[in-house]
Symmetry: D2
Subunit: 139 residues, 4 copies
Protein backbone atom coordinates (compact mmCIF):
# COMPACT_ATOMS: atom_id res chain seq x y z
CA UNK A 1 0.00 0.00 0.00
CA UNK A 2 1.77 3.09 -1.26
CA UNK A 3 3.01 5.32 1.53
CA UNK A 4 1.33 3.42 4.36
CA UNK A 5 4.00 1.41 6.11
CA UNK A 6 2.17 -1.00 8.35
CA UNK A 7 -0.90 -3.19 8.23
CA UNK A 8 -2.93 -5.30 10.59
CA UNK A 9 -5.86 -7.60 9.83
CA UNK A 10 -9.28 -7.46 11.45
CA UNK A 11 -11.94 -10.14 11.14
CA UNK A 12 -15.46 -8.70 11.27
CA UNK A 13 -17.38 -9.96 14.29
CA UNK A 14 -21.09 -10.69 14.22
CA UNK A 15 -21.57 -8.20 17.06
CA UNK A 16 -20.05 -5.52 14.81
CA UNK A 17 -22.78 -5.85 12.18
CA UNK A 18 -26.11 -4.04 12.23
CA UNK A 19 -29.66 -4.51 10.93
CA UNK A 20 -28.56 -3.34 7.48
CA UNK A 21 -26.62 -6.61 7.31
CA UNK A 22 -23.27 -4.81 7.14
CA UNK A 23 -20.54 -3.79 9.54
CA UNK A 24 -21.76 -0.79 11.53
CA UNK A 25 -19.84 2.38 10.67
CA UNK A 26 -18.78 2.94 14.30
CA UNK A 27 -16.99 -0.44 14.25
CA UNK A 28 -14.40 1.02 11.89
CA UNK A 29 -13.40 3.58 14.52
CA UNK A 30 -12.53 0.71 16.86
CA UNK A 31 -10.56 -1.08 14.11
CA UNK A 32 -8.44 2.02 13.53
CA UNK A 33 -7.58 1.89 17.22
CA UNK A 34 -6.69 -1.79 16.91
CA UNK A 35 -4.32 -0.81 14.09
CA UNK A 36 -2.70 1.94 16.18
CA UNK A 37 -2.14 -0.46 19.06
CA UNK A 38 -0.57 -2.99 16.68
CA UNK A 39 1.56 -0.24 15.13
CA UNK A 40 2.87 0.86 18.52
CA UNK A 41 3.56 -2.72 19.51
CA UNK A 42 5.70 -3.15 16.42
CA UNK A 43 7.39 0.21 16.61
CA UNK A 44 7.46 1.42 20.20
CA UNK A 45 7.17 -1.47 22.63
CA UNK A 46 3.40 -1.21 22.85
CA UNK A 47 0.83 1.35 23.90
CA UNK A 48 0.92 0.03 27.44
CA UNK A 49 4.65 0.86 27.59
CA UNK A 50 3.78 4.47 26.73
CA UNK A 51 1.10 4.58 29.40
CA UNK A 52 3.51 3.03 31.89
CA UNK A 53 5.84 5.99 31.30
CA UNK A 54 3.12 8.39 32.43
CA UNK A 55 1.74 9.39 29.05
CA UNK A 56 -1.84 9.06 27.87
CA UNK A 57 -2.74 9.46 24.19
CA UNK A 58 -6.04 11.21 23.49
CA UNK A 59 -7.92 11.12 20.21
CA UNK A 60 -8.74 14.65 19.10
CA UNK A 61 -10.20 14.00 15.65
CA UNK A 62 -11.57 11.15 13.55
CA UNK A 63 -12.34 11.31 9.85
CA UNK A 64 -13.52 8.27 7.95
CA UNK A 65 -14.89 7.91 4.43
CA UNK A 66 -16.74 4.68 3.66
CA UNK A 67 -16.40 3.48 0.07
CA UNK A 68 -17.91 -0.01 0.22
CA UNK A 69 -19.98 -1.99 2.68
CA UNK A 70 -18.18 -4.69 4.66
CA UNK A 71 -19.76 -7.91 5.88
CA UNK A 72 -19.67 -10.38 8.74
CA UNK A 73 -16.64 -12.65 8.85
CA UNK A 74 -14.71 -10.79 6.16
CA UNK A 75 -11.07 -10.06 6.82
CA UNK A 76 -10.14 -6.43 6.38
CA UNK A 77 -6.59 -5.11 6.20
CA UNK A 78 -6.03 -1.80 7.94
CA UNK A 79 -3.01 0.02 6.49
CA UNK A 80 -1.65 2.88 8.54
CA UNK A 81 1.22 5.26 9.09
CA UNK A 82 2.05 7.87 11.68
CA UNK A 83 2.71 11.39 10.39
CA UNK A 84 2.98 15.04 11.41
CA UNK A 85 4.48 14.34 14.76
CA UNK A 86 5.05 17.79 16.30
CA UNK A 87 5.13 18.80 19.93
CA UNK A 88 2.25 17.02 21.65
CA UNK A 89 0.38 16.16 18.46
CA UNK A 90 0.47 13.57 15.69
CA UNK A 91 -1.70 12.01 13.01
CA UNK A 92 -2.39 8.51 11.71
CA UNK A 93 -3.55 7.94 8.16
CA UNK A 94 -5.46 4.79 7.17
CA UNK A 95 -6.69 2.75 4.26
CA UNK A 96 -8.99 -0.17 5.01
CA UNK A 97 -8.94 -2.79 2.27
CA UNK A 98 -10.62 -6.08 1.43
CA UNK A 99 -8.41 -7.83 -1.07
CA UNK A 100 -7.51 -5.14 -3.58
CA UNK A 101 -10.64 -3.05 -2.98
CA UNK A 102 -10.65 0.01 -0.76
CA UNK A 103 -13.41 -0.17 1.85
CA UNK A 104 -12.66 3.01 3.81
CA UNK A 105 -9.97 5.59 4.35
CA UNK A 106 -9.34 8.44 6.74
CA UNK A 107 -7.19 9.77 9.51
CA UNK A 108 -7.18 10.29 13.25
CA UNK A 109 -5.39 13.04 15.18
CA UNK A 110 -4.01 12.64 18.67
CA UNK A 111 -2.49 14.57 21.55
CA UNK A 112 -0.24 13.29 24.31
CA UNK A 113 -1.08 14.31 27.85
CA UNK A 114 0.46 13.70 31.24
CA UNK A 115 -1.32 10.76 32.84
CA UNK A 116 -1.73 12.50 36.19
CA UNK A 117 -2.69 16.01 35.16
CA UNK A 118 -4.16 15.37 31.69
CA UNK A 119 -2.22 18.44 30.55
CA UNK A 120 -0.62 18.39 27.10
CA UNK A 121 2.92 17.10 27.18
CA UNK A 122 5.35 16.72 24.30
CA UNK A 123 5.63 13.32 22.69
CA UNK A 124 8.71 11.89 24.45
CA UNK A 125 11.89 12.03 22.34
CA UNK A 126 12.38 8.24 22.43
CA UNK A 127 8.92 7.73 20.96
CA UNK A 128 9.26 10.46 18.35
CA UNK A 129 12.58 9.00 17.21
CA UNK A 130 11.26 5.46 17.13
CA UNK A 131 8.35 6.49 14.93
CA UNK A 132 10.54 8.65 12.67
CA UNK A 133 12.85 5.68 12.18
CA UNK A 134 9.96 3.33 11.47
CA UNK A 135 8.42 5.66 8.91
CA UNK A 136 11.69 6.53 7.14
CA UNK A 137 12.77 2.91 6.87
CA UNK A 138 9.46 1.95 5.28
CA UNK A 139 9.38 4.76 2.72
CA UNK B 1 -44.00 -6.03 37.75
CA UNK B 2 -44.46 -8.32 40.70
CA UNK B 3 -41.61 -8.10 43.19
CA UNK B 4 -39.37 -5.90 41.06
CA UNK B 5 -39.49 -2.44 42.51
CA UNK B 6 -37.92 -0.18 39.92
CA UNK B 7 -37.93 0.26 36.18
CA UNK B 8 -36.10 2.26 33.57
CA UNK B 9 -36.75 2.51 29.83
CA UNK B 10 -34.22 1.85 27.08
CA UNK B 11 -34.72 2.72 23.43
CA UNK B 12 -32.95 0.27 21.12
CA UNK B 13 -30.23 1.98 19.08
CA UNK B 14 -29.42 1.05 15.51
CA UNK B 15 -25.83 0.34 16.56
CA UNK B 16 -27.20 -2.25 19.02
CA UNK B 17 -28.76 -4.37 16.28
CA UNK B 18 -26.97 -7.06 14.29
CA UNK B 19 -27.18 -8.73 10.88
CA UNK B 20 -30.04 -10.93 12.13
CA UNK B 21 -32.08 -7.71 12.16
CA UNK B 22 -32.56 -7.88 15.93
CA UNK B 23 -30.93 -6.38 19.01
CA UNK B 24 -27.64 -8.21 19.61
CA UNK B 25 -27.71 -10.34 22.76
CA UNK B 26 -24.70 -8.53 24.26
CA UNK B 27 -26.64 -5.24 24.13
CA UNK B 28 -28.91 -6.53 26.90
CA UNK B 29 -25.93 -6.80 29.25
CA UNK B 30 -25.32 -3.08 28.78
CA UNK B 31 -29.01 -2.29 29.37
CA UNK B 32 -28.95 -4.13 32.68
CA UNK B 33 -26.06 -1.87 33.67
CA UNK B 34 -28.06 1.19 32.59
CA UNK B 35 -30.86 -0.04 34.88
CA UNK B 36 -28.47 -0.49 37.82
CA UNK B 37 -27.10 3.02 37.37
CA UNK B 38 -30.66 4.43 37.27
CA UNK B 39 -31.56 2.36 40.34
CA UNK B 40 -28.60 3.71 42.30
CA UNK B 41 -29.40 7.25 41.21
CA UNK B 42 -32.91 6.89 42.60
CA UNK B 43 -31.94 5.04 45.74
CA UNK B 44 -28.36 5.93 46.68
CA UNK B 45 -27.35 9.26 45.21
CA UNK B 46 -25.87 7.68 42.11
CA UNK B 47 -23.14 5.21 41.24
CA UNK B 48 -20.62 8.01 40.95
CA UNK B 49 -21.32 8.92 44.61
CA UNK B 50 -20.37 5.37 45.57
CA UNK B 51 -17.18 5.56 43.51
CA UNK B 52 -16.39 8.93 45.06
CA UNK B 53 -16.45 7.28 48.49
CA UNK B 54 -13.69 4.90 47.43
CA UNK B 55 -15.79 1.91 46.43
CA UNK B 56 -15.83 0.17 43.07
CA UNK B 57 -18.57 -2.33 42.19
CA UNK B 58 -17.46 -5.35 40.14
CA UNK B 59 -19.74 -7.64 38.20
CA UNK B 60 -19.05 -11.26 39.16
CA UNK B 61 -21.84 -13.03 37.28
CA UNK B 62 -24.35 -12.42 34.50
CA UNK B 63 -27.24 -14.67 33.59
CA UNK B 64 -29.72 -13.73 30.91
CA UNK B 65 -32.48 -15.75 29.25
CA UNK B 66 -33.86 -14.37 25.99
CA UNK B 67 -37.54 -15.08 25.39
CA UNK B 68 -38.32 -12.90 22.37
CA UNK B 69 -36.33 -10.96 19.79
CA UNK B 70 -36.24 -7.17 20.20
CA UNK B 71 -35.96 -4.71 17.33
CA UNK B 72 -34.49 -1.35 16.42
CA UNK B 73 -36.24 1.66 17.94
CA UNK B 74 -38.42 -0.35 20.30
CA UNK B 75 -38.69 0.86 23.86
CA UNK B 76 -37.93 -1.80 26.44
CA UNK B 77 -38.68 -1.51 30.12
CA UNK B 78 -36.04 -2.99 32.42
CA UNK B 79 -37.52 -3.93 35.80
CA UNK B 80 -35.04 -4.58 38.57
CA UNK B 81 -34.52 -5.02 42.26
CA UNK B 82 -31.52 -5.43 44.50
CA UNK B 83 -31.44 -8.52 46.71
CA UNK B 84 -29.19 -10.74 48.83
CA UNK B 85 -27.02 -7.94 50.06
CA UNK B 86 -24.52 -9.61 52.39
CA UNK B 87 -21.00 -8.58 53.26
CA UNK B 88 -19.32 -7.48 50.04
CA UNK B 89 -21.84 -9.13 47.72
CA UNK B 90 -25.28 -8.46 46.29
CA UNK B 91 -27.54 -9.44 43.41
CA UNK B 92 -29.83 -7.66 40.98
CA UNK B 93 -32.78 -9.44 39.40
CA UNK B 94 -34.28 -8.25 36.10
CA UNK B 95 -37.21 -8.60 33.77
CA UNK B 96 -37.01 -6.86 30.40
CA UNK B 97 -40.43 -6.18 28.93
CA UNK B 98 -41.93 -4.72 25.77
CA UNK B 99 -45.45 -3.71 26.61
CA UNK B 100 -46.86 -6.69 28.50
CA UNK B 101 -44.53 -9.23 26.88
CA UNK B 102 -41.40 -10.52 28.57
CA UNK B 103 -38.37 -10.18 26.32
CA UNK B 104 -35.65 -11.37 28.71
CA UNK B 105 -35.00 -12.05 32.37
CA UNK B 106 -32.02 -12.80 34.51
CA UNK B 107 -29.76 -11.61 37.27
CA UNK B 108 -26.32 -10.16 37.86
CA UNK B 109 -24.12 -10.62 40.91
CA UNK B 110 -21.68 -8.04 42.21
CA UNK B 111 -18.91 -7.50 44.72
CA UNK B 112 -17.73 -4.26 46.25
CA UNK B 113 -14.00 -3.61 46.33
CA UNK B 114 -11.80 -0.85 47.63
CA UNK B 115 -11.03 1.53 44.77
CA UNK B 116 -7.32 1.67 45.56
CA UNK B 117 -6.52 -1.94 46.41
CA UNK B 118 -9.32 -3.75 44.52
CA UNK B 119 -9.69 -5.92 47.61
CA UNK B 120 -13.17 -6.96 48.68
CA UNK B 121 -14.72 -4.52 51.12
CA UNK B 122 -18.11 -4.71 52.79
CA UNK B 123 -20.94 -2.77 51.22
CA UNK B 124 -20.96 0.43 53.33
CA UNK B 125 -23.70 0.55 55.97
CA UNK B 126 -25.25 3.72 54.50
CA UNK B 127 -25.66 2.02 51.15
CA UNK B 128 -26.97 -1.26 52.58
CA UNK B 129 -29.54 0.62 54.62
CA UNK B 130 -30.60 2.80 51.71
CA UNK B 131 -31.20 -0.23 49.54
CA UNK B 132 -32.98 -2.15 52.30
CA UNK B 133 -35.30 0.81 52.77
CA UNK B 134 -35.95 1.12 49.04
CA UNK B 135 -36.79 -2.55 48.67
CA UNK B 136 -38.97 -2.82 51.79
CA UNK B 137 -40.99 0.28 50.89
CA UNK B 138 -41.69 -1.07 47.41
CA UNK B 139 -42.80 -4.51 48.57
CA UNK C 1 -27.43 26.47 19.43
CA UNK C 2 -27.02 28.83 16.49
CA UNK C 3 -28.04 27.27 13.21
CA UNK C 4 -28.60 23.77 14.59
CA UNK C 5 -32.32 23.23 14.87
CA UNK C 6 -32.75 20.10 16.93
CA UNK C 7 -31.23 18.53 20.01
CA UNK C 8 -31.40 15.27 21.88
CA UNK C 9 -29.81 14.32 25.18
CA UNK C 10 -27.57 11.34 25.81
CA UNK C 11 -26.53 10.05 29.22
CA UNK C 12 -23.06 8.49 29.17
CA UNK C 13 -23.18 4.80 30.05
CA UNK C 14 -20.48 3.05 32.04
CA UNK C 15 -19.97 0.63 29.14
CA UNK C 16 -19.15 3.64 26.94
CA UNK C 17 -16.16 4.66 29.04
CA UNK C 18 -12.63 3.31 28.65
CA UNK C 19 -9.52 2.75 30.74
CA UNK C 20 -8.61 6.43 30.38
CA UNK C 21 -11.62 7.08 32.61
CA UNK C 22 -13.44 8.99 29.86
CA UNK C 23 -16.06 8.26 27.23
CA UNK C 24 -14.40 6.30 24.41
CA UNK C 25 -14.18 8.33 21.20
CA UNK C 26 -16.11 5.68 19.20
CA UNK C 27 -19.09 6.16 21.55
CA UNK C 28 -19.66 9.60 20.05
CA UNK C 29 -20.24 8.06 16.63
CA UNK C 30 -23.11 6.06 18.12
CA UNK C 31 -24.54 9.16 19.82
CA UNK C 32 -24.63 11.03 16.51
CA UNK C 33 -26.72 8.15 15.17
CA UNK C 34 -29.04 8.40 18.18
CA UNK C 35 -29.48 12.09 17.34
CA UNK C 36 -30.28 11.32 13.69
CA UNK C 37 -32.88 8.77 14.71
CA UNK C 38 -34.48 11.27 17.10
CA UNK C 39 -34.37 13.96 14.38
CA UNK C 40 -36.15 11.70 11.90
CA UNK C 41 -38.71 10.74 14.51
CA UNK C 42 -39.53 14.38 15.05
CA UNK C 43 -39.41 15.40 11.40
CA UNK C 44 -40.22 12.41 9.22
CA UNK C 45 -42.21 9.81 11.14
CA UNK C 46 -39.11 7.92 12.20
CA UNK C 47 -36.23 6.10 10.55
CA UNK C 48 -38.18 2.87 10.58
CA UNK C 49 -40.88 4.55 8.43
CA UNK C 50 -38.20 5.34 5.86
CA UNK C 51 -36.95 1.76 5.91
CA UNK C 52 -40.52 0.51 5.63
CA UNK C 53 -40.83 2.45 2.36
CA UNK C 54 -37.93 0.51 0.88
CA UNK C 55 -35.11 2.96 1.56
CA UNK C 56 -31.94 2.30 3.51
CA UNK C 57 -29.69 5.17 4.63
CA UNK C 58 -25.96 4.47 4.49
CA UNK C 59 -23.28 6.48 6.26
CA UNK C 60 -20.58 7.51 3.79
CA UNK C 61 -18.45 9.79 5.96
CA UNK C 62 -17.88 10.67 9.62
CA UNK C 63 -15.86 13.57 10.90
CA UNK C 64 -15.61 14.33 14.58
CA UNK C 65 -13.39 16.75 16.47
CA UNK C 66 -13.09 16.20 20.22
CA UNK C 67 -12.63 19.37 22.27
CA UNK C 68 -13.08 18.12 25.83
CA UNK C 69 -13.20 14.77 27.57
CA UNK C 70 -16.63 13.54 28.69
CA UNK C 71 -17.27 11.34 31.71
CA UNK C 72 -19.51 8.56 32.96
CA UNK C 73 -23.06 9.60 33.83
CA UNK C 74 -22.78 13.07 32.32
CA UNK C 75 -25.64 14.26 30.16
CA UNK C 76 -24.56 15.52 26.76
CA UNK C 77 -26.77 17.48 24.38
CA UNK C 78 -26.33 16.60 20.72
CA UNK C 79 -27.41 19.50 18.48
CA UNK C 80 -27.94 18.66 14.85
CA UNK C 81 -29.37 19.79 11.56
CA UNK C 82 -29.79 18.20 8.16
CA UNK C 83 -28.23 20.05 5.23
CA UNK C 84 -27.13 19.72 1.60
CA UNK C 85 -29.89 17.35 0.62
CA UNK C 86 -29.33 16.69 -3.09
CA UNK C 87 -30.21 13.65 -5.14
CA UNK C 88 -29.33 10.60 -3.06
CA UNK C 89 -27.06 12.45 -0.63
CA UNK C 90 -27.33 14.62 2.45
CA UNK C 91 -25.32 15.78 5.45
CA UNK C 92 -25.89 16.19 9.17
CA UNK C 93 -23.93 18.71 11.20
CA UNK C 94 -23.47 18.32 14.96
CA UNK C 95 -22.35 20.05 18.10
CA UNK C 96 -22.11 18.00 21.28
CA UNK C 97 -22.36 20.11 24.41
CA UNK C 98 -22.21 19.68 28.16
CA UNK C 99 -23.94 22.68 29.68
CA UNK C 100 -22.50 25.65 27.77
CA UNK C 101 -19.22 23.91 26.86
CA UNK C 102 -18.60 22.32 23.51
CA UNK C 103 -17.38 18.75 23.85
CA UNK C 104 -17.23 17.75 20.18
CA UNK C 105 -18.42 18.83 16.76
CA UNK C 106 -18.49 17.37 13.29
CA UNK C 107 -20.63 16.06 10.51
CA UNK C 108 -21.75 12.84 8.87
CA UNK C 109 -22.62 12.30 5.22
CA UNK C 110 -25.19 9.82 3.98
CA UNK C 111 -26.58 8.23 0.86
CA UNK C 112 -30.00 6.69 0.31
CA UNK C 113 -30.12 3.29 -1.37
CA UNK C 114 -32.89 0.95 -2.45
CA UNK C 115 -33.37 -1.63 0.29
CA UNK C 116 -33.42 -4.56 -2.12
CA UNK C 117 -30.67 -3.66 -4.56
CA UNK C 118 -28.52 -1.37 -2.38
CA UNK C 119 -28.27 0.90 -5.43
CA UNK C 120 -28.35 4.66 -4.90
CA UNK C 121 -31.85 6.06 -5.09
CA UNK C 122 -32.94 9.68 -4.74
CA UNK C 123 -34.16 10.82 -1.35
CA UNK C 124 -37.96 10.52 -1.75
CA UNK C 125 -39.72 13.82 -2.36
CA UNK C 126 -41.89 13.49 0.75
CA UNK C 127 -38.78 13.15 2.93
CA UNK C 128 -36.87 15.95 1.20
CA UNK C 129 -39.81 18.31 1.64
CA UNK C 130 -40.35 17.34 5.25
CA UNK C 131 -36.73 18.05 6.09
CA UNK C 132 -36.70 21.32 4.09
CA UNK C 133 -39.74 22.47 6.03
CA UNK C 134 -38.22 21.46 9.36
CA UNK C 135 -34.98 23.30 8.67
CA UNK C 136 -36.59 26.46 7.26
CA UNK C 137 -39.04 26.76 10.16
CA UNK C 138 -36.21 26.50 12.68
CA UNK C 139 -33.98 29.11 11.01
CA UNK D 1 -8.27 -27.66 28.87
CA UNK D 2 -10.04 -30.75 30.14
CA UNK D 3 -13.18 -31.55 28.20
CA UNK D 4 -13.19 -28.38 26.12
CA UNK D 5 -12.01 -29.30 22.68
CA UNK D 6 -11.32 -26.03 20.93
CA UNK D 7 -9.74 -22.70 21.72
CA UNK D 8 -9.36 -19.31 20.10
CA UNK D 9 -7.37 -16.30 21.27
CA UNK D 10 -8.72 -12.81 21.80
CA UNK D 11 -6.60 -9.72 22.34
CA UNK D 12 -8.32 -7.15 24.57
CA UNK D 13 -8.98 -3.91 22.71
CA UNK D 14 -8.79 -0.51 24.35
CA UNK D 15 -12.41 0.12 23.33
CA UNK D 16 -13.37 -2.96 25.36
CA UNK D 17 -12.10 -1.53 28.64
CA UNK D 18 -14.07 0.72 30.97
CA UNK D 19 -13.45 3.42 33.56
CA UNK D 20 -12.59 0.75 36.15
CA UNK D 21 -9.46 0.16 34.05
CA UNK D 22 -10.52 -3.40 33.20
CA UNK D 23 -12.27 -5.17 30.34
CA UNK D 24 -15.99 -4.39 30.55
CA UNK D 25 -18.04 -7.46 31.49
CA UNK D 26 -20.20 -7.17 28.34
CA UNK D 27 -17.07 -7.56 26.19
CA UNK D 28 -16.82 -11.19 27.29
CA UNK D 29 -20.22 -11.92 25.73
CA UNK D 30 -18.82 -10.78 22.38
CA UNK D 31 -15.67 -12.89 22.84
CA UNK D 32 -17.78 -16.01 23.40
CA UNK D 33 -19.42 -15.28 20.06
CA UNK D 34 -16.00 -14.89 18.43
CA UNK D 35 -15.13 -18.34 19.81
CA UNK D 36 -18.35 -19.87 18.44
CA UNK D 37 -17.67 -18.42 15.01
CA UNK D 38 -14.12 -19.81 15.07
CA UNK D 39 -15.44 -23.17 16.27
CA UNK D 40 -17.93 -23.37 13.41
CA UNK D 41 -15.27 -22.35 10.92
CA UNK D 42 -13.10 -25.23 12.08
CA UNK D 43 -15.87 -27.77 12.38
CA UNK D 44 -18.70 -26.85 10.01
CA UNK D 45 -17.48 -24.68 7.16
CA UNK D 46 -18.26 -21.45 8.98
CA UNK D 47 -21.29 -19.73 10.45
CA UNK D 48 -21.95 -18.00 7.15
CA UNK D 49 -22.28 -21.41 5.49
CA UNK D 50 -25.02 -22.25 7.97
CA UNK D 51 -26.79 -18.97 7.27
CA UNK D 52 -26.42 -19.57 3.55
CA UNK D 53 -28.38 -22.80 3.98
CA UNK D 54 -31.34 -20.89 5.38
CA UNK D 55 -30.65 -21.33 9.10
CA UNK D 56 -30.21 -18.60 11.67
CA UNK D 57 -28.82 -19.37 15.13
CA UNK D 58 -30.36 -17.42 18.00
CA UNK D 59 -28.87 -17.03 21.46
CA UNK D 60 -31.43 -17.99 24.09
CA UNK D 61 -29.31 -17.84 27.24
CA UNK D 62 -25.99 -16.48 28.47
CA UNK D 63 -24.35 -17.29 31.76
CA UNK D 64 -20.94 -15.95 32.67
CA UNK D 65 -19.04 -16.01 35.95
CA UNK D 66 -16.11 -13.60 36.25
CA UNK D 67 -13.23 -14.87 38.38
CA UNK D 68 -10.50 -12.32 37.68
CA UNK D 69 -10.29 -8.89 36.06
CA UNK D 70 -8.75 -8.76 32.59
CA UNK D 71 -6.81 -5.82 31.21
CA UNK D 72 -6.12 -3.93 28.00
CA UNK D 73 -3.86 -5.70 25.51
CA UNK D 74 -3.87 -9.02 27.35
CA UNK D 75 -4.39 -12.14 25.27
CA UNK D 76 -7.18 -14.38 26.54
CA UNK D 77 -7.77 -17.94 25.42
CA UNK D 78 -11.41 -18.90 25.06
CA UNK D 79 -11.86 -22.68 25.36
CA UNK D 80 -15.19 -24.05 24.20
CA UNK D 81 -17.14 -27.11 23.22
CA UNK D 82 -20.57 -27.72 21.81
CA UNK D 83 -22.86 -30.01 23.83
CA UNK D 84 -26.46 -31.10 24.32
CA UNK D 85 -27.39 -30.87 20.67
CA UNK D 86 -31.03 -31.97 20.52
CA UNK D 87 -33.72 -30.99 18.05
CA UNK D 88 -33.41 -27.25 17.50
CA UNK D 89 -31.29 -26.57 20.58
CA UNK D 90 -27.68 -26.81 21.68
CA UNK D 91 -25.26 -25.43 24.26
CA UNK D 92 -21.71 -24.13 24.26
CA UNK D 93 -19.56 -24.31 27.38
CA UNK D 94 -16.60 -21.95 27.89
CA UNK D 95 -13.55 -21.30 29.98
CA UNK D 96 -11.70 -18.03 29.43
CA UNK D 97 -8.07 -18.24 30.53
CA UNK D 98 -5.04 -15.97 30.77
CA UNK D 99 -2.02 -18.21 30.88
CA UNK D 100 -2.94 -20.88 33.43
CA UNK D 101 -5.42 -18.70 35.32
CA UNK D 102 -9.14 -18.89 34.79
CA UNK D 103 -10.65 -15.47 34.10
CA UNK D 104 -14.26 -16.46 33.43
CA UNK D 105 -16.41 -19.46 32.65
CA UNK D 106 -19.96 -20.08 31.58
CA UNK D 107 -22.23 -21.30 28.87
CA UNK D 108 -24.57 -20.05 26.15
CA UNK D 109 -27.68 -21.80 24.82
CA UNK D 110 -28.93 -21.51 21.26
CA UNK D 111 -31.83 -22.37 19.01
CA UNK D 112 -31.85 -22.80 15.25
CA UNK D 113 -34.61 -21.07 13.32
CA UNK D 114 -35.60 -20.88 9.69
CA UNK D 115 -34.10 -17.71 8.21
CA UNK D 116 -37.34 -16.69 6.49
CA UNK D 117 -39.94 -17.50 9.11
CA UNK D 118 -37.81 -17.33 12.29
CA UNK D 119 -39.64 -20.49 13.38
CA UNK D 120 -37.67 -23.17 15.25
CA UNK D 121 -36.18 -25.72 12.90
CA UNK D 122 -34.11 -28.79 13.76
CA UNK D 123 -30.35 -28.47 13.57
CA UNK D 124 -29.63 -29.95 10.11
CA UNK D 125 -28.30 -33.50 10.19
CA UNK D 126 -25.06 -32.56 8.42
CA UNK D 127 -24.30 -29.99 11.10
CA UNK D 128 -25.29 -32.24 14.01
CA UNK D 129 -23.06 -35.00 12.67
CA UNK D 130 -20.15 -32.68 12.04
CA UNK D 131 -20.27 -31.40 15.59
CA UNK D 132 -20.72 -34.88 17.07
CA UNK D 133 -17.64 -36.02 15.17
CA UNK D 134 -15.62 -33.00 16.27
CA UNK D 135 -16.51 -33.49 19.91
CA UNK D 136 -15.99 -37.24 20.00
CA UNK D 137 -12.62 -37.03 18.26
CA UNK D 138 -11.40 -34.46 20.76
CA UNK D 139 -12.53 -36.36 23.86
Amino acid sequence: MEGLSFSTDVRIRFAETDAQGIAHHASFVVWLEVARVAYLERNAGGYQAIRDRGIEVLTTEVRLRYHRAAYFDETLTVWTRCTDLRGARFTYEYRVERGDKIVADGYTRHATVDRETYRPTRVPAWLAETIATAESSSA
